[in-house]
Subunit: 83 residues, 2 copies
């Protein structure tokens, strides 16, 4: 059994409006940061998981994303498993 570090990136699908990102974009412009064309905000979830195989860890984390960590209707997720 090893401990794996897993990073999950959860982002809104490109077709979904992101009001939080829009607010950040406006705030950056108001602070004088020019040339910023787009801002989108997602979640970064870091997990520590004890298991015996990286493939199993990935499959389980994808299951966690479908059930809890992401809303698959409006969000995409990317799972990165590090040993």
């Amino acid at each position: 059994m090893k401990e794996y570090k897993v990073k999950v990136e959860v982002k809104l699908k490109p077709v979904v409006l992101d009001p939080q990102g829009k607010t950040v974009l406006t705030a950056l412009h108001n602070l004088g940061f020019e040339g910023v064309d787009d801002a989108r905000i997602g979640k970064l979830i870091e997990l520590k998981i004890t298991d015996d195989d990286a493939g199993k860890v990935r499959a389980r984390v994808e299951d966690m994303c479908m059930k809890l960590l992401a809303n698959p209707v409006i969000e995409d997720f990317v799972v990165n498993v590090e040993e």
Copy 2:
């Protein structure tokens, strides 16, 4: 002038308690996911920035993090610039 894609990872510093992560950890256990030892939640900010040099983009985004995107007292950030 090129358009750069920038990914900013904003995470709570390791010494800072993460109640949201604790809640997710408990929820994962309640859903039957065993072997999950820790969960921490951060932000993933994706920016599109038009500039003429990747180094300048990085410096400006670090400035944005200090001023708006992160709270440097309790959060760490990592800036990744992609062309």
